[in-house]
């Protein structure tokens, strides 16, 4: 560098006025939008872990029968309210592989609880790839092979058993099949409708908005209870609980959209005044395009958060209507049904393991939350 006598500083590295045009990296430019999002998402560790976890959860759904030592409604009337059993590895200091100690239940007529006495002298090793009750693998192949089962003369209630002597662990696995699928239908229906009507109302405003808003208002002020009452009397009696629940969750979704629609509409009413929306319109973008490409992405965070939030409601909602006979009920197994059974003081105070289904719900919901958060972050232009 040079310092001129008049106090000037002049840079003296060679100057090339045209140096700024570099060659462009093709492969990066070719990347489709989802790949870019994915690349960003990959860096969000919690989101990634959650995503993988959820993927795994959904992938094992068809094979829960194999993993669960018992089937969903298998009862062992000798072990009612059995507490969780632990799998041991060492017996009196010796390693003998995974085993359990046998237990015997006694009725205690003073406390009215079952007392379980563990016989710690005879370790019984677990069996693997063993035969148990038969179940349809992936919904198709009838088989009776389980990953592990209780040894003869003992039980393997990893998370205890319930009032009828059913294995909580196995039931949670089976419950996932319903809890992780059917309830989400409602969310989808309500989101499709909510976003659809909300964006139309918000973007177009005026008459369409007026009409949609009146529909929303009317839908919202109309009572749902009588509808359920009527439905509960009208559903054909030989429908299985799952079929009934399926219909219900769709109806739930159909009734649920106005809230979301209002939120979408309000946001769009404001967003549509943004300059970039004007710009898109002036380029000739169709309304659908403006909504999809310009408005929705700017409301994505809210939508993602809302979707995550609906999940526990839908998982639990399956039993909310059971007092009207419309909820999911035995013999169908779901987490909501299991929790419904646990709704009494004894389950909290004496048999806390019957309330274990809360855990998978929370874990799943948190996983969805982190996944959503990761997704949000990878869509956020400011977080790079």
């Amino acid at each position: 560098m040079t310092n001129l006598p008049d106090g000037r500083y002049v840079d003296d590295t060679p100057f090339d006025a045209t140096a700024n045009i570099q060659t462009l990296e093709r492969q990066d430019l070719d990347a489709p939008a989802w790949l870019l999002v994915w690349r960003k998402f990959r860096r969000h560790r919690l989101g990634l872990v959650s995503g993988i976890f959820l993927l795994l959860c959904y992938m094992i759904l068809p094979f829960v029968g194999f993993i669960a030592p018992y089937t969903a409604n298998e009862r062992d009337s000798d072990y009612l309210f059995a507490p969780p059993q632990s799998v041991q590895w060492y017996h009196e200091g010796d390693f003998i592989g995974p085993f359990v100690y046998p237990t015997v239940a006694e009725a205690d007529l003073e406390t009215f609880q079952w007392k379980f006495v563990t016989d710690t002298t005879t370790p019984l090793p677990l069996k693997f790839f063993c035969q148990g009750e038969s179940y349809p693998l992936a919904g198709l192949i009838e088989t009776d092979v389980h990953l592990f089962c209780a040894p003869e003369g003992a039980t393997i209630f990893l998370w205890g058993s319930d009032r009828l002597g059913r294995d909580v662990f196995s039931r949670i696995l089976y419950g996932a099949q319903l809890s992780l699928t059917v309830g989400l239908i409602g969310i989808s229906v309500s989101f499709v409708l909510g976003i659809g009507f909300g964006s139309i109302a918000g973007y177009f405003g005026g008459k369409i908005d007026w009409v949609i808003n009146r529909v929303i208002e009317i839908l919202r002020s109309l009572p749902e209870l009588p509808l359920w009452l009527a439905l509960s009397a009208a559903v054909p009696s030989n429908w299985g609980p799952v079929a009934v629940f399926f219909i219900i969750s769709i109806i739930l979704g159909v009734l649920d959209w106005p809230g979301l629609a209002r939120a979408v509409r309000a946001k769009f009413l404001s967003l549509r005044e943004e300059e970039y929306v004007r710009a898109a319109e002036m380029m000739g973008a169709s309304s659908g395009r403006v909504i999809r490409r310009h408005l929705l992405p700017n409301f994505m965070s809210h939508l993602i958060a809302s979707a995550t939030l609906s999940i526990p409601a839908m998982i639990l909602g399956e039993t909310a209507l059971s007092f009207l006979g419309l909820g999911l009920r035995a013999p169908a197994v779901s987490w909501g049904v299991m929790l419904n059974d646990a709704q009494n003081l004894a389950s909290i105070e004496i048999y806390p393991w019957t309330a274990i289904p809360m855990l998978p719900i929370i874990v799943i919901v948190l996983a969805f939350n982190f996944l959503g958060d990761g997704l949000r972050d990878s869509l956020d232009p400011y977080a790079d």
């Binding site: 009862r75 009828l164 009397a233 009696s237 009920r329 035995a330 003081l345």
Partner: protein, 619 residues
């Protein structure tokens, strides 16, 4: 009558008495009060005072105070014998003429005398008033279509007379929900068009925002609902709360007619505080020691938590009483089901027997009742003279093989690919059982029965409904089978009307339409068309005509045998323990007893007015 013991003034009303607002106790009780025999029943005399807390789940349940209080003209004693209570005594002439004698000097809770005029007012101005009772006097007074002649010879005598016997008359008066054949005339007259000043009445009608005097009268005249605190009563406690509340207070009736041998006027307890609590919280609140006497809303499954509360230093004990319903969980195949093919199947006694035989009652007992209930068919309990082991065990021991062959015999021998039997028309044998989704036991039991029935090729589909919806569906014949309790009265005596074991009541879910037919005199429903049912009808009628206990007993025995043989309802378990939470300081509560609605009025038969708080506190 034995001489009256010296009477003691209650401290609760002492102030009022001293102020002169209330006469002293001697003037308040009848000249010949009911002196209760405590020692004879192993009870101890107590002291007055204290507040008893208890809970119910709906605000209309404050009428439980009329039930628990159990002051009846005649009532059951602990041996289920009818004894005079409000009445000094009664006479029955071949069940045709009943002479009821009142206690001289007996007063309503507001101090007005309780006399035959109160009966007369009811009979003439209410039962026979076209506006208040357009259909005339209540049905239990109708014998072979004829109403009694009712006379009121003097202040303390009322006579009901028929040409034919009315054996049910006295028992009706002792019901948990009795027909009040007397009303506080001095109070109600002010609101009756026959007696009141029409201008004043019009003003009252206006005030109450009702549309006619009859509506007003109806509104005020609620002896059973017990929600009008102005209405005088004869019960041990009077309602001291007006309006809709969360807690209702009932204070001792200063004119109550019972006294203990020491001259202490009953009830011992000054105040009963009844709290409206959600059904699901009753156990939690009991566990927290917020109830002094509680059985309603508690269930077998709550015992463990109650016991735990006791062990953790609770101020209560949990007694286990026996439940008097004939079956805790009973399945009623609907013999009036609207589907023809199914109805034919359900009407086949072999099918019902097979279904009953396939149920593993011991497992249910173990899973739900700690093996403490008695497995068996729907039959009366040992406390009833008509109890037999044979009836209890009829078609109720686990025997899937016999069940299978019975079904095969019944023409249901074809099976579908999944092993489910097929009806003659080819439909699978899926029995849809509807329940009032309120009790988890039912759901659990049905879960077990589902497995049991699967063994005999029958598929059970459970469908929980709202209680009211369930009832309407059953009554309409659109429900294939339903679950409910067994007969409320599992301990019938010879004098108990056998209405409820005959096809006379739609409330017995196996024959809703036959019941309606009888109850509506043929206006609705359909007449019984199965020989056994027709026989039951005849027997019920015979019982009404019978004149001796022996005849009635024989009729009862035969009817119960028909039920045992025909399995109209499939019973599972009976006599499950009913937890009763009792404050440790509360005395005279029997440790062993039956929890029954009728006869018994729950606590009523155990004379809750004799319970007292031991001033020395808990033992």
């Amino acid at each position: 009558a034995p001489p009256l013991p010296p009477l003691q003034e209650s401290s609760f009303w002492l102030q009022e008495v001293e102020r002169g607002d209330l006469p002293p106790v001697a003037e308040r009780i009848p000249t010949s009060p009911l002196v209760v025999d405590l020692e004879g029943r192993g009870r101890t005399p107590g002291v007055q005072g204290g507040t008893l807390h208890t809970m119910v789940s709906r605000s209309k349940d404050i009428r439980q105070m009329v039930v628990y209080g159990y002051a009846r003209l005649v009532g059951y004693d602990h041996n289920y014998q009818l004894v005079p209570d409000l009445l000094l005594d009664f006479e029955s002439d071949q069940d045709k003429v009943f002479t009821l004698r009142l206690r001289p000097g007996h007063r309503w809770s507001d101090g007005a005398p309780f006399t035959s005029a109160d009966f007369e007012y009811w009979w003439k101005n209410i039962a026979n008033n076209k506006l208040l009772s357009p259909a005339g006097p209540p049905d239990f007074l109708r014998v072979e279509g004829q109403m009694p002649t009712v006379t009121f010879p003097d202040e303390t005598t009322v006579v009901f007379a028929w040409d034919n016997p009315n054996p049910n008359f006295l028992a009706s008066l002792a019901l948990a929900r009795p027909p009040f054949i007397y009303r506080p005339a001095h109070f109600l007259k002010k609101f009756h068009a026959d007696s009141a000043d029409s201008a004043e009445l019009a003003a009252e009608v206006e005030d109450a925002r009702v549309k006619s005097w009859a509506a007003l009268h109806n509104k005020l005249d609620n002896m059973y609902k017990f929600d009008n605190h102005r209405l005088p009563t004869l019960q041990p406690w009077i309602n001291a709360s007006s309006g809709k509340k969360i807690r209702y207070n009932f204070v001792r009736n200063p004119y109550f007619h019972r006294v203990d041998p020491n001259g202490v006027q009953l009830p011992y307890i000054d105040i009963v505080e009844m709290e409206i609590v959600s059904a699901g919280l009753i156990a939690a609140k009991s566990n927290a020691g917020e109830a002094d006497l509680q059985a309603r809303g508690l269930d077998f499954r709550d015992i463990s938590i109650l016991r735990k509360g006791e062990a953790d230093g609770g101020n209560y004990k949990t007694y286990l009483w026996g439940n008097a319903v004939a079956s805790q969980i009973a399945i009623y195949p609907n013999l009036n089901y609207e589907d023809d093919a199914w109805r034919a199947v359900l009407r086949d006694v072999r099918v019902r027997r097979a279904l009953s035989l396939a149920i593993d009652r011991d497992t249910i007992n173990k899973a739900l009742y700690f093996k403490l209930a008695k497995p068996g068919a729907m039959a009366v309990l040992p406390q009833s003279p008509f109890f037999t082991e044979a009836n209890r065990n009829a078609w109720a021991t686990l025997d899937p093989d016999t069940a299978n062959s019975l079904l095969d015999e019944a023409g249901l021998d074809r099976r579908g690919p999944d092993g489910i039997r097929l009806l003659p028309d080819g439909r699978p044998m899926e029995i849809v059982i509807e329940t009032a989704g309120e009790r988890q036991e039912v759901e659990n039991a049905l879960q077990i029965i589902t497995d049991d029935w699967r063994n005999i090729g029958v598929k059970l589909v459970m469908r929980p409904l709202d209680r009211d919806i369930l009832r309407n569906r059953v009554y309409a014949g659109s429900s294939m089978a339903a679950v409910w309790y067994g007969w409320d009265n599992g301990i019938p005596q010879a004098y108990t009307s056998p209405d409820y074991v005959a096809p006379r009541q739609q409330e017995f879910f196996a024959w809703p339409k036959w019941g309606q037919y009888y109850q509506t005199n043929g206006a609705a429903g359909e007449p019984p068309d199965m020989p056994e049912a027709i026989r039951l009808m005849e027997l019920a009628h015979d019982w009404e005509m019978a004149t001796t206990t022996e005849q009635r007993s024989a009729i009862w025995t035969e009817m119960l045998a028909i039920h045992a043989d025909q399995v109209f309802a499939i019973g599972t378990l009976a006599e499950a323990p009913q937890p009763v939470v009792v404050n440790k300081a509360l005395r005279n509560v029997p440790e062993q007893a039956l929890w029954a609605w009728d006869p018994g009025a729950h606590f009523g038969i155990h004379r809750i007015d004799e319970f007292y708080f031991d001033p020395n506190g808990s033992d």
